[in-house]
Amino acid sequence: MDILGIPLQALLGQLMLGIVNGSFYAVLSLGLAIIFGVLKIVNFAHGAFFMLGAFTAFLLAQYMGLDYWVTLIVAPLLVAAFGMLFEFLFLRRLYGLDPIYGLLLTFSLVLVLEGGFRVAFGSSGQPFATPEQLRGTINLGFMILPLYRGFVIVSALLLCLVTWFIIERTSLGASLRAATERSELTQAFGINVPRLITLTYGVGVGLAAFAGVLAAPIFHVNPSMGSSLVIIIFAVVVIGGLGSIMGAIVTGLGLGVVEGFTRVFYSEFSSTIVFLVMVLVLLLRPAGLFGREEG
């Protein structure tokens, strides 16, 4: 059976790969959405933190001989700690101001991080081996999927669900949501809001770094690997609906699939399609696909 001249089997394969790619978008846009939801800041350094995650994993493996599985945990934690320090020292001075200043500050951080890594490690990037246990392929019937890509889907979705659960279903998440809506009132209840905000930034940044480590074995690890990501990721968040955690996850996956099919039918347009989708969504459904209409 063919659809538009492409065998169904091939299309199923592309669907699968779209989901893999979408898993990265989901983790990244989830982090960005959380940060925007609580800090009201477009974290322009999200792509840089993605890069930082991959590089940290590379450095841990290279110079400390750490196993991939250890770096998958340790690297995001280190990057999250760095992010929290940045929030604590600088970002928090800009709260309550026009969000454009936060954007500018995080943009400056991109320059510092990308520039710094280019000075230290050159522009052409580093090799990063796929972990031993995940080499090889699995036969899905309609395609041969490299094992590692399967691992990406599973771990990314798992992490997304855990994060969603914490925010939507636990008391920590409840106070977080409360702090987002009524910051001063929450403070009055004895919850340390500034610390909560720092933590949130750490979680968002850590998610980006996790995506970076996940990407390291299959995408090329170099200082500019995240630089074109941020506007795409932010588009995903806007399409999903600002403030909607589930929206960011689902839209991330969906965009991966849409992009994947565009690569088959009109490849040149594949990095632009997200923006076309965004215009249409914003004009037809202003609050995004999963956002609440606000009065």
Partner: protein, 409 residues
């Protein structure tokens, strides 16, 4: 320190003789503001820093030092600038250098948009520019100039080198993974022509946007095409991501990737595990012979890295330019142009190299294969020579060039 390249004293052409009286005068007013000034315009801070960058400046400095720091008693000065991969920034810097700062020659010029823009300025200002790290074939065609030299390689030599050799080796059905940029599409067209001329067949192509990270979709398309050879018409991160994805999805061994513009640095960052068996055309490899090893060793001591073909080209072209200035006895651009085209280039980089009237430096190109990790015996031991492509075959025949400087155009 080696002596100055010996050939410059050997070559005495009629043109030198006719200019001999001027040369012997050696008056410093034959040299604009009493200095021969070379500007290295490169990417110091962006994605091409490894391909040229600070090491390119160092290569030119080495050339000047090896030349003795002065030419006919006139001091040589090296300055550098960062074009930030923006054509306007590059053009503006070049203009300022030529107009205000007395720069006689601009070298390196990575990024084809920058190279074309600076070539235009050089042509207008009638000063020299030597392009080493960009592949744009327009430089020796529509945009050619008596003051612009395209030295190390170009898109045509890449197509000839890799395309021709692979087709001859039996790889005659091709699928292209092409970056949707003028450079990628041009390279794809060039190689397609070579493939068809040799009786091969192009079964399809996928054009991806710049900075694509996930090439898995393209790997499947390439697989489905059934082509024997997957031609990768991109460079840098795109090429590396494409090669990684092809390896991951197991297109080998029935299908084989061929990287059309892979740099030495890309192999370093791919790692031999993934890169082994790849074919690539490069004008220079550090470990080719004793002369290249000698140069590379010295380069390594200064920069902490092995030179790639652009670095070697920067060095060689600077020496050649200085030889031409010495022979002309002046840095007046027209006289130097004439000498540059007259003198032959014989050094570790090129043997019997010469510059055509359209500015193309013709010299042998080499097809290399990446070694497997087992074959690699010492640090930086990456490539094995497959074949040498004679300069005459490697570069666009003059009768195909649309350069207005050539007879009949």
């Amino acid at each position: 320190m080696p002596a100055k390249p010996s050939f410059k004293t050997l070559v005495v052409s009629s043109a030198v003789l006719s200019l001999g009286s001027i040369a012997s005068a050696m008056a410093s007013d034959d040299y604009s503001d009493g200095v021969v000034r070379i500007g290295v315009l490169t990417d110091m801070s962006g994605i091409y820093t490894d391909l040229s960058g600070e090491a390119a400046v160092e290569a030119v400095r080495m050339a000047v030092e090896d030349f003795g720091g002065e030419v006919n008693g006139v001091p040589i000065e090296v300055i550098y600038g960062d074009h930030r991969n923006r054509a306007d920034t590059g053009a503006s810097r070049a203009r300022e250098w030529y107009n205000n700062d007395g720069v006689d020659m601009i070298n390196d010029l990575s990024n084809s948009g920058v190279a074309l823009a600076v070539a235009a300025v050089a042509d207008e200002q009638q000063r020299h520019a030597i392009v080493n790290s960009s592949s744009n074939i327009g430089l020796t065609n529509d945009y050619c100039s008596p003051y612009v030299t395209h030295y190390t390689y170009d898109a045509y030599s890449l197509a000839q080198g890799t395309g021709q050799s692979i087709v001859e080796d039996g790889g005659d059905t091709w699928f292209f993974l092409t970056v949707d940029f003028a450079f990628g599409i041009g390279l794809e067209e060039q190689v397609s022509e070579v493939v068809r001329d040799a009786g091969g067949q192009v079964v399809g192509a996928a054009r991806h946007p710049l900075d694509t990270t996930d090439f898995s979709s393209y790997a499947l398309q390439a697989q489905a095409s059934g082509a024997e050879i997957i031609g990768i018409a991109s460079t840098g991160a795109d090429a590396i991501n494409a090669i990684n994805a092809l390896a991951e999805f197991g297109v080998t061994p029935d299908q084989r990737p061929a990287a059309l513009l892979l740099w030495y640095d890309d192999i370093v960052s791919l790692g031999l595990d993934t890169a082994q068996g790849l074919l690539l055309t490069n004008a220079f490899y550090w470990d080719a012979n004793d002369e290249t090893r000698e140069f590379s060793q010295r380069f390594y001591e200064r920069t902490g890295r092995m030179p790639n073909m652009a670095h070697a080209g920067n060095y060689s072209s600077t020496i050649h330019y200085l030889n031409a200035v010495e022979a002309a006895g002046t840095d007046a651009p027209d006289a130097v142009s004439e000498q540059m085209r007259e003198l032959e280039i014989n050094d570790f980089f090129a043997s019997g190299g010469y510059i055509r009237d359209n500015g193309r430096m013709v010299h042998d190109q080499y097809l290399w294969e990446v070694k497997s990790p087992d074959e690699s015996e010492y640090d930086y031991d990456f490539l094995r020579l497959v074949t040498t492509i004679p300069g005459e075959d490697a570069f666009q025949p003059l009768d195909e060039s649309t350069c207005h400087l050539l007879n009949g155009n």
